[in-house]
């Protein structure tokens, strides 16, 4: 059963179509990666899902209920962080969780608060005021607030913002744990495509407020193909060699270098052909597949 159902959702700010006719579903237990460039409409969509922004048109259903008519009931089951982790500087981490726990109908005890702080790695700083926290720690506390009432749907907008590499790994592991072990449905947006690639089971890419791609990562990205970046001493000559040979169909139209989308088993053959043709080869670099896919679909729709 879809936990989130969005149908023909639009939000216009004057003449600007921030989100336009967007439809998608998120199923129970999925980690749904929500991708888009800055200003593509991701945050506006997330804010509409949380009823922070009123849609211009369209319909949102969460847990099979209309957000417009069952808002309070629906929000009881959602935990969210939206963009920056903005908190009260004069309160401690523990006080934040205590206050937000009070706003839930579920009974949330001291032990639950302790466990949540433990989960995000803030137990040792629970009595410290937020004004002494780094951006990464605030982000963790934001996630703790989203989790404290044990919601079944978690919406995380850029949850790894401001985190160090260890922090990013921790949050990634936490998201995977919540999805796999606790069966949570998670919608996560991030500009770190490699992170989404490792976490998400399903992705959607929006560009200029419109959906440009959606589906399971495995389907969108051909596992038998790789994106290869060819670095040479003479790019013009290399392109000529590729166009005149059997690899011409794999050449991608890009201005930032020579890229081929090529079956993995043909890479050694490509290497050999380039050497035989006298190309001054510096290196063949495989690229992050999702990143390339993302750039491809967003540049196609420009």
């Amino acid at each position: 059963m879809p936990v989130i159902q969005v149908h023909q959702l639009s939000k216009h700010f004057g003449t600007l179509k921030a989100v336009n006719q967007l439809s998608f579903n998120v199923n129970e237990g999925e980690v749904f990666g929500f991708l888009g460039q800055n200003g593509s409409g991701k945050s506006t969509t997330i804010r509409m899902l949380l009823s922070l922004i009123h849609p211009t048109s369209g319909h949102i259903e969460l847990f099979g209920k209309s957000l417009q008519t069952h808002r309070t009931q629906i929000l009881e089951e959602i935990g969210a962080i939206i963009e920056r982790p903005d908190l009260y500087p004069y309160l401690t981490a523990q006080e934040h969780l205590q206050l937000f726990a009070k706003l839930r109908s579920k009974k949330i005890g001291k032990e639950d608060i302790r466990n949540t702080l433990q989960k995000v790695g803030l137990i040792d700083r629970s009595k410290d005021k937020v004004q002494t926290f780094s951006l990464g720690m605030k982000q963790r506390l934001g996630i703790a607030i989203a989790l404290v009432h044990n919601p079944s749907l978690i919406i995380l907008d850029e949850p790894t913002n401001g985190l160090d590499p260890q922090g990013i790994t921790d949050i990634r592991n936490l998201i995977q744990y919540l999805a796999k072990e606790e069966g949570k449905t998670i919608l996560v947006s991030s500009h770190l495509l490699s992170e989404i690639e490792q976490m998400a089971t399903q992705i959607m890419i929006i560009h200029k407020g419109e959906k440009v791609a959606e589906g399971p990562i495995q389907k969108l990205l051909d596992p038998n193909k790789m994106i290869v970046h060819i670095k040479t001493t003479n790019d013009a000559h290399t392109v000529q060699v590729i166009l005149s040979g059997s690899f011409s169909n794999y050449l991608m139209q890009r201005t930032d270098g020579i890229y081929l989308s090529i079956p993995t088993y043909e890479i050694p053959l490509l290497n050999q052909s380039l050497v035989n043709a006298g190309v001054g080869l510096i290196g063949l670099e495989s690229r992050n597949a999702l990143e390339d896919y993302f750039l491809q679909v967003t540049s196609n729709s420009n």
């Binding site: 922004i53 009931q73 903005d86 009260y88 206050l99 009070k102 706003l103």
Partner: protein
């Protein structure tokens, strides 16, 4: 709703800014009390210089009741400033901080949030007024003692017997709470319109100054609107200290000269509170949270 009020109060009283108002009131009152304690007799002489030739006054003129009256005259004009510091920050401050989106994604309606925040700000206002009452009335009574209250009006003198004074102060403070709650609700309305704290605080004060000027200007054009302005009614707590007299011009115990004026003022102030809070709810409900 109870949860909203309790967390809003918690936040208000955990913020250092909250205590500026309490500190400012305490400092002002103590300075005035000290001044009057040291040099009060010459001040009393100055007050009574016009009637000294025709009237002999026995007893302690400069007593706790008179000090409290002087303090209220001075302070009730400025306390709205201190109330606006908190009330005008209640919604816009959260928008500025970015925490409004955290609050509005909890399972409560925006109307509940606005009303809960207004009630919390009102409780703060009342607590501030109780603090003011404690320092201005009870501490003054303790320092200066009590006696009959002798007040100089523009063209007559009012003498209220000692045992007829205290309930009038209770009435005056209850009335003042309506005045200050009007300021709280105005600050709240300003707060719902902005995404930063400074604008609504300055806006609230500007509105009070603007309407006070209109209320005090004796220009026929403004006379039509004067009865409907909240600023015309905010200072009518003084009516509690005007007493009826009998045919022998003797004060009648337990009476108020113009009770109808107090009732009208309370109705006008209450209507303003309802209007400002309703407008805040309406604006906040329609608002897109973009901060």
């Amino acid at each position: 709703m109870k949860a909203i009020i309790s967390i809003e109060l918690y936040k208000i009283f955990r913020r250092p800014r909250t205590y500026i108002a309490f500190g400012a009131i305490a400092a002002l009152i103590m300075v005035i009390q000290l001044g009057l304690k040291m040099d009060g007799q010459s001040y009393a002489g100055f007050l009574m210089k016009d009637i000294n030739d025709t009237l002999t006054v026995d007893g302690k003129v400069l007593n706790g009741y008179l000090i409290c009256y002087i303090l209220l005259q001075l302070l009730l004009v400025h306390v709205p400033l201190l109330v606006a510091l908190i009330a005008a920050d209640m919604i816009s401050g959260e928008a500025n901080l970015g925490t409004l989106r955290l609050l509005f994604t909890t399972p409560y309606s925006r109307s509940q949030w606005v009303l809960g925040k207004f009630i919390a700000a009102s409780i703060y206002t009342i607590v501030l007024l109780i603090w003011l009452a404690f320092l201005a009335l009870f501490v003054s009574m303790w320092i200066f003692g009590t006696d009959d209250l002798f007040l100089m009006k523009s063209n007559y003198v009012v003498l209220i017997q000692e045992h007829d004074v205290l309930w009038r102060y209770v009435g005056a403070f209850v009335f003042a709470s309506f005045s200050l709650l009007t300021v709280t609700s105005l600050g709240f309305l300003m707060s719902s319109l902005a995404n930063n704290s400074i604008g609504p605080i300055v806006g609230t004060m500007s509105a009070i100054v603007f309407f006070t000027i209109l209320s005090t200007l004796n220009i026929p054009l403004f006379s039509v609107i004067k009865p409907y302005l909240f600023t015309t009614h905010m200072n009518n707590w003084k009516e509690f200290f005007d007493i009826k007299v009998n045919e022998n011009n003797e004060a009648v115990f337990g009476t108020i000269l113009n009770l109808a004026k107090i009732k009208t003022s309370l109705i006008v102030l209450t209507l303003h509170i309802i209007l400002f809070v309703t407008a805040s709810v309406f604006i906040t409900k329609r608002k897109d949270i973009l901060s």
